[in-house]
Symmetry: C2
Subunit: 257 residues, 2 copies
């Protein structure tokens, strides 16, 4: 879709460090910003939110990514899914309140895995939402897995998968860092296939409780997303950044093939 | 599945009449009862919850069942889906707290309609949950519709559809009435194909704000569910009723083919 943007809202932006606490002020600011930008620039939008201090904590406790590894894994599966959905639901509610036609779409209901690989899926609802200019809101979720019992797919992994079918124009990953930092702590403006391997060595986990792997994971997934000619941007969450990125101004780190 | 029970928990049991108010005491009582019965009788379970004073109110306001009929329909779609999901999420959280391996499965993410008929669907996650003895919890939801934009499928309609593929042993519809009442207000113990048309004339809407049609709808859907040889029971929500129904004691109204 020519006019489609994927926007990830990092969990670290919308939650506070203390487990299960929200940054409601930031959620509301982002919601307002999205509504006003959509009115101004008339683009279609798919949002994904990270887990922040909600599901990352429980997912780490139960090692949910590894599947059913002990007698606590199944209740862990349920708790982590509930934590992930709960944050998503709060975000969707605030988007609606701000005037956005936002609608939650639960990844664990439309994706099925086998040994962490997506085996089957169902995209008709999302496609129809986008056709009608609704804003589907997905999230990193616990996915049912025929071999492991369950696993976790991060928001980036879900974006990578959805990008193949929905072909967004741009993917924007907005988080609490201003982009990908080099070894001196400066934002790297551009990463492409050539520079990727050099950059990788500077990458560290952005957040120690991020079970899905932090910045190293983000950039690896972003690099894969670019394969279809889609540019990926890693930007900070400061108000105004999103508009700059939409307008094509230099901001954060641009990752291209 | 020989050992599978579908249980609908009526929205009227778990919410109060005032819009968006919960009957949390009842939710917790039912959650405890389910956990203890599952331990005692070792059956597999799929739960569906009604909308009660949550989504019925907004669905009526926006006429969401009819689809995109005016300029408010799309935001209505989002609000009604959010209301329906919110109540489901509260129920799932309480089931988990009571010790049940309950997991929400959002119908709008795995069902797609065309003119209110289910056109395509995705059942792998639910099937895998049941295989692993998790308890999927579905709900009456706003479903994306390729012709209408959106529509509503009630919990009963979703049960009817799922029953075809999952073949439960028994379907139990638990609500704030003790069964199907006759013209004198007495519970009719049995309805079958023969007596169905006679019974229908006594049926009135159970709840004026129920957008999905009240008791008349319930019995019609129940009659259709029995076609595969599955017995459907309409019972009251009093503590102890569920156990009686599971044990095969006479309770409420039994609907069979």
């Amino acid at each position: 879709m020519r006019n489609l943007i994927f926007l990830k809202i990092g969990g670290s932006l919308i939650t506070k460090r203390k487990p299960y606490t929200l940054n409601l002020k930031k959620i509301r600011e982002i919601a307002k910003e999205i509504v006003s930008l959509r009115r101004k620039y008339k683009f279609k939008l798919l949002i994904g939110n990270g887990a922040g201090s909600f599901a990352h904590v429980s997912a780490k406790k139960f090692k949910t990514k590894k599947g059913y590894i002990n007698e606590k894994s199944k209740i862990g599966h349920c708790i982590v899914e509930d934590d992930a959905s709960t944050l998503n639901r709060i975000l969707v509610k605030e988007l609606i309140r701000a005037g956005e036609r936002a609608i939650s779409v639960q990844p664990s209901a439309f994706i099925f895995c086998s040994k962490r690989k997506i085996k089957s899926f169902f995209l008709e609802p999302i496609k129809n939402y986008l056709k009608n200019d609704l804003v589907p809101v997905v999230f990193g979720d616990v996915i049912s897995d025929e071999k492991l019992g369950c696993t976790i797919l991060s928001t980036e992994e879900i974006f990578k998968f959805l990008a193949k079918f929905l072909r967004p124009k741009k993917i924007i990953l907005m988080s609490d860092v201003e982009g990908v930092y080099d070894s001196k702590g400066k934002v790297i403006p551009e990463i492409n296939k050539k520079s990727f391997s050099k950059v990788q060595k500077f990458l560290k986990g952005a957040n120690k409780i991020d079970v899905t792997g932090g910045m190293a994971h983000k950039v690896k997934e972003a690099m894969e997303m670019t394969k279809g000619g889609i540019d990926v941007f890693i930007i900070g969450g400061k108000k105004g950044n999103l508009e700059k990125c939409l307008k094509g101004e230099k901001i954060g780190t641009r990752i291209s093939f």
